[in-house]
Symmetry: C2
Subunit: 188 residues, 2 copies
């Protein structure tokens, strides 16, 4: 369990009692490469934090697989639109390599809110962080052309370029695989 609680502490300080309560609902799990952590159609009832590995959230639109985002170590992974609405998600979560992660059941988490206000605030903050990252992503998609978006990804999540297959990266950037391959070729 160890390194996840210190990570939480770095986001929002927790009382000793809250640390213990929270540690009590974190489960460690392992998932083999390419497997779905959560499938399309399921309602989001679990939050994940990667200990080791890499994951993506994806959806299928017009028969095409689209990667919405890539997530590395310690990133909060959740399908917020499903969690907040309590409705089935149109999105799935898949790991790109053999991964280890912590999972937290949201109803267990919610039941800690009454007694542990700091835990409620910690997760509010984690979602705020995710929200801000999403806003920045919009700026990126809205303002930059495909090639610039590629170089931004290269700068901000260089591991993704090494670990994710071309097709995932292309749909994440909002371009075709051929286009992405062309952009890469330019580099020389």
């Amino acid at each position: 369990m160890s390194p996840i609680i210190p990570y939480f502490q770095s986001i929002y300080p927790l009382s000793t009692a809250s640390q213990e309560a929270l540690a009590g609902i974190c489960r460690e799990i392992s998932i083999p490469k390419n497997q779905d952590l959560q499938s399309i159609g399921q309602t989001c009832k679990t939050l994940y934090f990667l200990k080791k590995g890499m994951a993506r959230i994806y959806y299928v639109k017009d028969g095409m697989d689209v990667t919405e985002g890539f997530y590395g170590e310690f990133n909060l992974i959740a399908r917020a639109e499903s969690l907040f609405a309590g409705k089935p998600s149109q999105k799935g979560i898949q790991v790109l390599e053999d991964s280890e992660l912590w999972s937290i059941d949201t109803s267990a988490l919610t039941s800690l809110h009454e007694e542990h206000r700091d835990i409620e605030r910690l997760f509010a903050k984690l979602f705020q962080k995710a929200y801000v990252e999403t806003i920045q992503r919009i700026e990126n998609l809205q303002f930059h052309a495909a090639e610039e978006r590629y170089h931004l990804l290269e700068k901000e999540q260089p591991e993704v370029l090494k670990r994710a297959p071309l097709k995932f990266i292309a749909s994440y950037l909002g371009i075709t695989q051929v286009s992405l391959s062309r952009i890469r070729a330019k580099k020389s």
Copy 2:
């Protein structure tokens, strides 16, 4: 003050005491067309809800004015990336027409959190809503070509097409004014 408290109630139920406390920190203000509600460089310390009118959040990049989003009646308007970080915002808020709105000082709001847990949760929910809309916006920018994005805006915020000038709509969609004008011409 009237209609804003019922709106809040529809998002998250509030005790009578909380309703009164919250009403006590809502201020009604009027702003003339084209004026900035908040300027670039200011730290976000106020939240707004439009009673009447329309607003946009914008930023300047490479000398170009880019509209990040349009906001209509009862929408929460805030520069989240600045609010959550406590840092100056690179974004401004401008009203597109003579507008009336409610403003809420964030430090006054925060001071209500301890005593009024329902208020804290109400605003957590409002930001969740905003977050989910942002996620959907990404799907839109990532997956759809310019013309489709235009038609989606037409469907989801038709008032924007009537009330906002071409240049704001174009940068919102991530295209040039000329391109937008061309898309419009196709319609016939």
